[in-house]
Amino acid sequence: MVALAPAVVPRRRRALGGGRLAPYLFVAPFVVVFLLFMVAPIVIAVSNAMYSSRSSGLGFGGAETVFVGLQNYATALRDGDFLFGFARVALYGLVQVPVMMLIAAGLALLFDSALVRARRFFQFAVFLPYAVPGVIAALLWGFFYQPSVSPLVQALQGLGVDADLLAPGTVLWSVANVSVWSNAGINMIILFSALQSLPRDTFEAARLDGAGELRMALSLKLPMIAPAVLLTTLSTVIGTLQLFNEPQVLQSITPHIASDWTPNMAIYAVSTLGGDTRLGSAMAVLLGLVTLVVSLVLVRVTNSSSREGL
């Protein structure tokens, strides 16, 4: 892998300000932004979650902020609908992540092989939905899901299929469809560029040994781009846990997406609609912890299995 890095011709170092300070100056923009927009909000959320606003009687005497320790977490963990949101996105992820990865990896391998004509055209076509902002994508699909304005549903009805894409049982998959449509393209591009950077001589050798395109794809290319596959899987899983945009938009056209349908929506409902930002902070910290644990487990599992594979 190291040998693959393009040879960099070292340039003569120029004196910039005060020599030793230069590295710090270079990382400063990142560190400042990181502290300001990543670390500080987390610290504020964690500390916010330990307090609660309390009134008494009718409440017109004003509210005071009291320290409640972990009580907000206890409240969040007793909220059955909030917890069910995790189960819902887990089910969603179990289907959506493999489907997304199969589509992205399949397309990337197809484009990398010599089989596809007009490759650039199809690549753009697949990537195009990613350029549509998520909210707009959900709005567009929203029209496809509403029977009286949807050519899709009307065509299905014409074929005798009574499709209700917004029913309690189907709406989860309608949401998943929007997200796959939007994000398969970017995952495909990441996997495709990983494939493009692989050494071609390995494949020539394999071809000489009689390996077909399919065999090369499955036995050589996929294992060699495992890090990129892990990266895209990880970001898809995190995206699943943080599901918000698509269901929030589709909520306006179907009653079957409740205000606390996903963990992120529950946080929005509690903090913005219900006005309890402190309970919302506790829920956000819980969601962050779950995301962290899931990511770590995923990385650990993939690492150990790839080590076994070797």
Binding site: A63, L128, Q146, P255
Partner: protein, 443 residues
């Protein structure tokens, strides 16, 4: 090649959108900061300085009224921001961060929470003289603990808009009681299976509230030093039973209101009646223009032996906590909502149903509506306002209660539970939320 073109168009489109958003938020930031700067300057130089009042509202035509006020009052500069999307939710965060506007339009359902959270200022000293020009109910809705927290801006008395052609075609009389309504629903659907008496939107809280109010129920009340919660009170259960029957017999559609699907059904003539507030006809005219002339307005059907009508809720203009010059803000609010100069514009442009006596006396209110076959529809709404019982009171966690009720109603139209169960669940969630805030709740 086509794809590349499309692709770059898409990117440009997105950039333009981002740029527009950025420009809008920058404008907001500068508007806010310039507001406080100028006010600060005004404090330093009281004579001849200009006071700035930042005002957020949603009623159509407010821009013109603000301009009119600014012209007549050179010492005050009112800046207006039209509220769209979730701007209503943004107000709370903005006020808490000390960056809110001075003056904002607010649903009267939300006002108690604003008072409890200290997000609004009492303006009694500036507007006490206005009381005589407002209906008693509307003035009560902005008064808490003897202090006035806002100037009322319109109410929402209910009526029943109905398709006169559909009823006539099937020989059905306009229902005047809820029992007749059920009979009409059955007759209509039997005559034409594609025809429904109404759409029961599981997302439209106002339609529910107006009938609960008509039945003399209330979600909230005060008992001594405690709140009472009545989301599943006896009146609400009567309303629940009525709609449960209509739902169970398949006599209503259950589309979410305001969606393309909903308006498509309204335009297609699938829905024979829409019961809603006096501001709804403007929306109907805009979204179902092709059905002009086919609609009329009648009072809401009533319960046996009652002449009660309902109201889905009003609005008020309130002075927020961080306002630099509450006096100037209150004075503008008082002019905007109560002055003789503004009543016609608020009624015709804004589509408001007035809560002011001079507004109720305005000839603009009694104009014939071509869309409704030349009917003076506000005659119905005026009578409705007079017959609305004063039993409804607002409570401290409207947002939570509303979300809970609507989430539960969605399960009702999905056939997973009954309205009565939904109301019980929402009631429990609302009580739990009040108690978690330390408020006292009487059972």
């Amino acid at each position: 090649m086509d794809a590349t073109q499309l692709f770059s168009n898409g990117r440009r489109g997105r950039t333009a959108l981002v740029a527009a958003g950025l420009a809008a938020s920058l404008a907001l930031v500068t508007a806010c900061s310039s507001g406080s700067d100028e006010a600060a300057a005004g404090d330093d130089a009281p004579a001849g300085g200009t006071t700035t009042v930042d005002f957020w509202g949603w009623v159509p035509g407010l821009e013109e009224l603000v301009a009119q006020y600014n012209e007549a009052n050179p010492d005050v500069e009112v800046t207006f921001h039209r509220m769209t999307g979730d701007d209503g939710q943004k107000v709370e965060a903005a006020v808490d961060a000390g960056a809110g506007p001075d003056l904002v339009q607010l649903s009267s359902h939300d006002l108690p929470d604003y008072v409890i959270q200290g997000r609004v200022q009492p303006i009694t000293e500036f507007v006490a003289d206005d009381e005589a020009n407002y209906t008693e109910a509307s003035w009560t809705s902005v008064t808490f603990d003897g202090e006035v927290y806002g100037v009322p801006q319109g109410i929402g008395p209910s009526g029943m808009m109905y398709r006169t052609d559909l009823l006539e075609q099937h020989g059905i009389a306009v229902p005047t009681t809820w029992d007749e309504y059920l009979e009409a629903a059955r007759a209509l659907h039997a005559a034409d299976p594609e025809l429904y008496i109404a759409n029961l939107s599981p997302g439209e809280i106002g339609q529910w509230v107006q009938e609960v109010q008509q039945a003399e129920g209330s979600w909230f009340g005060i008992e001594g030093d405690s709140w009472t919660v009545g989301i599943n009170d006896e009146a609400s259960l009567r309303v629940a039973e009525r709609w449960q029957t209509l739902l169970d017999e398949g006599l209503v559609t259950t589309e979410l209101m305001w969606t393309p699907e909903y308006w498509s059904r309204v335009n297609a003539g699938d829905i024979a009646t829409i019961s809603y507030a006096a501001w709804f006809p403007v929306a109907l005219m805009e979204n179902a223009a092709d059905t002009s002339g086919l609609w009329r307005v009648a009072p809401l059907p009533t319960e046996p032996g009652s002449t009660n009508q309902g109201d889905s809720g009003g609005a008020a203009v309130v002075v927020l906590k961080g306002a630099d010059d509450p006096g100037a803000a209150a004075e503008f609010a008082s002019w905007l909502n109560g002055s003789d100069e503004t009543q016609d514009a608020l009624i015709t442009e804004g589509g408001l149903f007035p809560s002011t006596l001079n507004g109720l006396a305005s000839p603009a209110l009694l104009e014939e509506q071509e869309f409704f076959g030349g009917q003076v529809i506000n005659e119905v709404f005026i009578e409705s306002a007079e017959n609305t019982p004063a039993t409804w009171s607002e409570g401290p966690n409207w947002g939570t209660a509303q979300t809970a009720v609507l989430d539960e109603f969605a399960k009702v139209v999905a056939g997973q539970q009954t309205f009565a169960q939904a109301l019980d669940n929402a009631h429990d969630a609302t009580v739990a939320d009040l108690e978690s805030r330390g408020l006292s709740v009487a059972e």
